[in-house]
């Protein structure tokens, strides 16, 4: 892993971070959650963490701090001191999660899966040679070669799998190659810029708006400094920072800024008190690495499948070893049979094929903005049954947007779609003219220069979220806002602060005839209303009477009830006689009126849902996936968004809704009537795991609001207890434990922090929930297609195995050699089995339930039986027909072959008689035997073509699916034929490969069986379609 540095994505975005109505009280709740998490998760960590959380740096005075860290706040550390400390404490960077050494990864590939069986085969080969050699010094080296070939197969497939894995890891490491962060530091009494990695404890650093805090810092002085702690606490509201000690807790006091959080505005100077892994973030990150990584469902499935195949191989091997010994074969021969059985049973190429298939899908998903880090995660998304989604940024656009307006006693809806293009509300009223002026002028946000070509909604703005929203809103409707502001010169301004809760500015007007000053004001609606005595209706000022005040309140409540943030706007033209053009406004003395203003209107803002999300949620629902929203936001906002995206469907109610509708107390409501539930973090904190389980099972639509990101972990665990496969989205550092814990963690590519991306299995490049749905679709498709691939691959194993069994029992000359089997498994069958990955879905896979982890296995009984005992046996019979044909036409009729094995293989018998009385030397027979291998090989290949075609579908007829829709299948078939032709005619003269030139007609002997396979499978599918749920379907559908 490369160096761990800053994350580039969030810097520009932080300006538009969602601002929510959060009060102090809840902030505390969250911190508590964080601490709870520390306590409950890792016991042996707890002590250490506690100790470090008990740091008292925030309580110390500056003098004490200087003493403690041996520094000086004016001159900073000396370079030598800093160098020493750096050497002592290491660089200021998070240690990347511990990587398994490459060699271990490599060795794992060498012994995983079927490799162990093949190693056994190879070792048996060498043992067999050892025995032979001890008996006869001149024994042939065939077994040694075979052993080497098997070892080579293991090593090559191991290298291949390793390479594939390394490749997918590489995709991720590009994320880590980011611009090194710089820090502005005072050292040797000089201000310098150094890489943030070189910061040490005691350094004096300066931060300003837009910077990322380079380490845990105790602030010494601050001017209007605000930080975004969302990646640490999930709190989306900017937090003010000052040098005062305000709280006993390190996490809550205002004079500490944390590593990796972003400074939104203002400037500050501070002293570094923790660096690297010792920072709070570093500790959470290490907590994440402590959470065990679950095995992916597909890994479990493949393991299950390997167990089945290995079980079959070992039991048949042992059974026939015993049979061979009891048939008076020599132990040596029995060992060789065992090798043959193992090689025939193990689908050598399959695991490599699965890897390729998965990485093909991973590529396809990357194109659809799902970047998969862990190949196996490709399928996990498909089996997902619960998605725990973030709200901000994933479901929503992650920017405040004007959603509603209220003026002239009327609520207007503004367009909140991504481009805002369609603003349809009535703009003719005089009130709107005044309102728009206030929106434009009473606003400090500005576009960063040089973005004329960028669409308005995508421009970067300096200013807080709601001002940004207003700026963009007015820019879209009115055009060049900056120009308007220039024409209405600003003469005085009172910025927003939390005590007066309003913002005010005074402007010269752009009307040259009007010498009056215009005072505009915006702020919390009730505060604004208090200051007003009149209200503007249809462009006319009217006295503010009771009924209009009532109307205001109704509108205010309605908008607030939608979870929107409401602002009030008012203005006043200052009389020209009292305030002549030369009048100097003093904002501290307030030498101008701030009451009896004219109320103009309300505007409400929300972070609106992405336009693609409702559709995606519906799709999830029809796909049987439960979508749970987990957010730090206020329940009302959360619920409003949940309703608008369909997480809470239009006709379902929460217990509270029912209580409200029926005018009864919440406790009286029958909980079964409610489908939806909105649960806050505080409620969740008091729940026992059983209660949580009950909640998760009883409600189909759940929103968790005001939760700390740490509670996400609890929710994820709760879902997993329901046997669900859980996908979790997250972006903050503090999400990483939940991301890791989830069956599939999905990090946001744009807003996500490095830690989240590290912990996740998948990265959504566009942060869009809808991309998850396409991911689910691909995941389900790959599961289906893997099933087909495996069924295809397993089938011929029986055709490879039967010759051995018949050879042992009946004593025919060996029909197919071990090397030849390897040429099928690793030659002709590879491309076709990959081609099945390109197969289209048979039906709408998004309309069925997610697969049950324990019941819907990748390889089930039906698949194994159908492949082995039905198609596999047909193939074996077909192969034997080709084999017998070759022997019979050369002179050995089937009857004479029985029990011929011993003489046939005896190199001293050089006058073996065939059915016609002719006599054969050993080599002549050997050549015929190889021809038999080739014939059997071709027989299997021809039938595998039919097998490939029938595996395209499991239920539908091939003709419904379309024979030619998947072109890759035909590439596969062509490859099979070409490889076989090359082996037979090109390499037929190389005796070591045991291939011979086959007469052209033998290529067609197995064709009737290929046709039989196709017809039989069509019949099977027909009955499955005709009699759903019948005995036939239960036994024949895989």
């Amino acid at each position: 892993m490369g160096k761990k540095t800053l994350e580039i994505y969030s810097v520009e975005l932080s300006g538009t971070k969602d601002v929510e109505q959060t009060d102090k009280e809840d902030g505390k709740e969250r911190y508590r959650g964080l601490k709870n998490c520390f306590h409950s998760k890792k016991d042996h960590h707890t002590e250490k963490l506690k100790k470090e959380l008990d740091l008292d740096d925030h309580k110390l005075s500056i003098k004490e701090l200087e003493k403690k860290y041996g520094t000086n706040i004016i001159t900073g550390l000396s370079s030598t001191q800093a160098a020493e400390l750096l050497a002592q404490n290491g660089p200021n960077a998070l240690t990347p999660p511990k990587e398994t050494p490459e060699i271990i990864k490599f060795l794992k590939q060498m012994v995983g899966g079927f490799s162990i069986l093949l190693w056994i085969g190879a070792i048996l080969c060498w043992i067999a040679y050892g025995i032979q050699y001890s008996m006869n010094k001149s024994s042939s080296l065939d077994d040694v070669y075979l052993g080497c070939v098997l070892a080579l197969v293991v090593i090559l497939t191991g290298i291949f799998a390793y390479y594939q894995e390394a490749k997918s890891t590489n995709i991720m490491s590009t994320f880590n190659k980011m611009i090194p962060q710089q820090a502005f530091v005072i050292r040797d009494s000089e201000k310098k810029t150094i890489p943030a990695e070189q910061l040490v404890v005691g350094d004096i650093v300066e931060i300003k708006g837009g910077d990322r805090v380079p380490a845990d810092i105790r602030l010494l002085s601050a001017q209007g400094c605000k930080v975004d702690n969302s990646s640490l606490t999930g709190e989306s509201e900017p937090q003010a920072r000052s040098s005062e000690f305000t709280h006993d807790s390190l996490l809550e006091t205002k004079n500490i800024a944390f590593y990796s959080t972003t400074c939104l505005e203002g400037t500050a100077t501070g002293m570094v008190i923790n660096t690297g892994d010792r920072t709070i973030i570093g500790q959470i990150a290490s907590l994440a690495s402590g959470v065990g990584n679950e095995k992916t469902p597909i890994a479990i499935e493949i393991e299950h499948f390997v167990h089945i195949v290995a079980g079959v191989a070992v039991s048949i091997g042992i059974l026939f070893f015993i049979i061979a010994v009891s048939l008076k074969y020599q132990v040596l021969d029995a060992i060789i049979f065992l090798i043959g059985i193992i090689v025939a049973n193990v689908p050598e190429g399959l695991l490599a094929t699965v890897t390729v298939t998965l990485s093909l899908t991973a590529k396809r998903m990357a194109k659809k903005n799902c970047l998969v880090k862990n190949l196996e995660a490709v399928e996990t998304l498909g089996s997902t049954s619960i998605i725990c989604s973030d709200k901000t940024g994933t479901l929503t656009q992650n920017r405040m947007t004007v959603a509603h307006l209220w003026f002239d006693n009327q609520i207007f809806i503004a367009d909140t779609s991504e481009d805002h293009s369609n603003q349809v509300f009535d703009q003719s009223s005089g009130t709107w003219a005044s309102l728009s002026k206030i929106i434009t002028l009473c606003n400090r946000a500005e576009f960063k220069p040089g973005q004329e070509s960028v669409p308005i909604m995508k421009r970067i703005v300096v200013g807080d979220a709601s001002e940004t929203a207003l700026l963009k809103f007015s820019e879209v409707i009115l055009g060049d806002v900056m120009e308007i502001r220039k024409r209405n010169h600003k003469v005085a301004e009172i910025p927003f602060n939390s005590t007066n809760k309003f913002q005010l500015s005074i402007h010269k007007t752009d009307d040259p005839n009007d010498k009056r000053f215009l005072m505009v004001m915006k702020g919390a609606p009730e505060r604004i209303l208090e200051k007003c005595s009149t209200i503007m209706v249809n462009g006319q000022e009217q006295p503010l009477d009771k009924s209009t005040a009532e109307a205001f309140h109704t509108a205010y409540m309605e908008l607030g009830g939608l979870g929107e943030r409401v602002l009030g706007f008012c203005h006043l033209y200052l009389p020209a006689d009292e305030f002549p053009e030369t009048y100097t406004f003093d904002v501290d003395a307030i030498n101008f009126p701030t009451s009896n203003l004219c109320f103009v209107g309300l505007l409400s803002m929300i972070d609106p849902p992405r336009s693609t999300v409702p559709d995606a949620v519906t799709k999830c629902r029809s796909a049987g996936i439960k979508v749970i929203m987990v957010t730090g936001d206020h329940p009302i906002t959360a619920k409003a968004i949940a309703k608008s995206v369909g997480i809470i469907s239009a006709n379902s109610e929460t217990v509270e809704d029912i209580a409200k509708r029926l005018h009864i107390a919440v406790e009286q409501v029958n909980k079964r009537d409610a489908k939806a539930a909105v649960v806050t973090g505080a409620e969740l904190k008091d729940m026992s795991p059983e209660q949580l389980d009950e909640l998760l099972t009883n409600y189909s639509e759940i929103v968790f609001a005001r939760t700390s990101p740490q509670q996400k972990l609890i929710i994820v665990e709760g879902c997993q207890r329901q046997n669900a496969v859980v996908a979790v989205t997250g972006d903050g550092v503090n999400d990483s434990p939940a991301l890791k814990k989830a069956d599939i963690g999905i990090a946001m590519g744009i807003a996500g922090s490095d830690a989240a991306k590290n912990a996740a299995d998948m990265v959504l490049l566009d942060d869009n929930f809808a991309s998850i749905v396409t991911g689910v679709e691909e995941g389900r498709l790959i599961f289906d297609n893997l099933k087909k691939t495996i069924a295809y691959t397993l089938t011929k194993n029986i055709a490879e195995l039967c010759p051995f069994l018949i050879y042992i029992i009946v004593g025919l000359p060996l029909p197919i050699g071990t090397i030849t089997i390897l040429f099928i498994d690793l030659g002709t069958d590879i491309i076709p089995s990959i081609a099945l990955a390109y197969e289209k879905a048979e039906s709408d896979i998004m309309n069925r339930k997610p697969r049950h982890k324990k019941k819907d296995r990748l390889v089930n009984e039906q698949l194994a039986i159908y492949s082995y005992l039905h198609i596999g046996l047909i193939q074996a019979v077909g192969g034997f027909v080709v084999y017998f044909t070759v022997y019979a036409q050369e002179g050995f009729k089937p009857n004479i072959l029985i029990n011929l094995r011993v003489e046939w293989e005896d190199s001293n018998v050089n006058d073996l008689e065939d059915s016609y009385g002719q006599q054969w030397t050993w080599y002549q027979r050997k050549y015929l035997e190889w021809t038999g291998y080739t014939a059997f090989f071709v027989g299997i290949m021809v039938q595998q073509i039919a097998d490939l075609i029938i595996r395209k579908t499991r239920r539908n007829s091939i003709f419904q699916q379309g024979l030619f829709r998947n072109k890759v299948i035909w590439v596969g078939i062509a490859s099979q034929i070409i490889i076989a032709l090359i082996l037979s005619y090109g390499l037929g003269s190389i005796t070591a490969l045991n291939f011979t030139m086959l007469r052209p007609q033998y290529w067609f002997v197995a064709v009737p069986y290929a046709i039989l396979i196709w017809v039989y499978d069509e019949v099977r599918k027909l009955f499955i379609r005709l009699y759903p749920g019948s005995w036939w379907e239960k036994n024949m559908y895989y």
Binding site: G891, G917, Q918, Q919, Y923, Y927, Y1009, N1035
Partner: protein
Amino acid sequence: MVIQKEKKSCGQVVEEWKEFVWNPRTHQFMGRTGTSWAFILLFYLVFYGFLTAMFTLTMWVMLQTVSDHTPKYQDRLATPGLMIRPKTENLDVIVNVSDTESWDQHVQKLNKFLEPYNDSIQAQKNDVCRPGRYYEQPDNGVLNYPKRACQFNRTQLGDCSGIGDPTHYGYSTGQPCVFIKMNRVINFYAGANQSMNVTCVGKRDEDAENLGNFVMFPANGNIDLMYFPYYGKRFHVNYTQPLVAVKFLNVTPNVEVNVECRINAANIATDDERDKFAGRVAFKLRINKT
């Protein structure tokens, strides 16, 4: 926080197995009910029955393409192989002169092997043919069989005929006879109308020295053309394969001698690197004398 795997106790496992074998609640035996078992057995009966029928049918069709009398292809048998009698396990003829048992088995085998060559049997079954010419019996459109075979009388083998031989083909005196025969190949005109014979040599120089003198029967190791072509087991019922006997007169005792015999015929190549028995035969000879 890995999902805890429930460790099953031994009793539970046994219980589960019991339930799998016979589930009294659902009346399932090995996971299937009686009807389900009946269905599945019936299904496999039908399915495998059909498969067997299909196999039989295709094999029958295939066998129709194969003649009873001559094989369809003979490409592998362009060069007939040579073989020796007595046939021993590793093609080594070891004779302990003093130990009767060591060669008696060879003698028994040879007696049996040469029995059909007895003059009386030959005279009774086979024709006297004109030497030096192929004995062709073409079908000329009508199947003409059984075909006649030419006589190869045991007496032609001279000292190696073993008739009234107290030395048992020379085995008891350390002068053993080894018989060489050429593999039968249907319709093969060995020698391409020219005379052919078998010659034997020591494989290496020292083998040649140790081998000493030998005599061959018929003289020169000749194989006459009249024994060809061979028409196959079905047609050529009484076909008698021509033999060449080699009697080793003074092999150096107690030494292993590698002997190689090959046929000298115009249309038989004897230099195939892979097939060590194409037109030739190599064997070991060892006479142990005390």
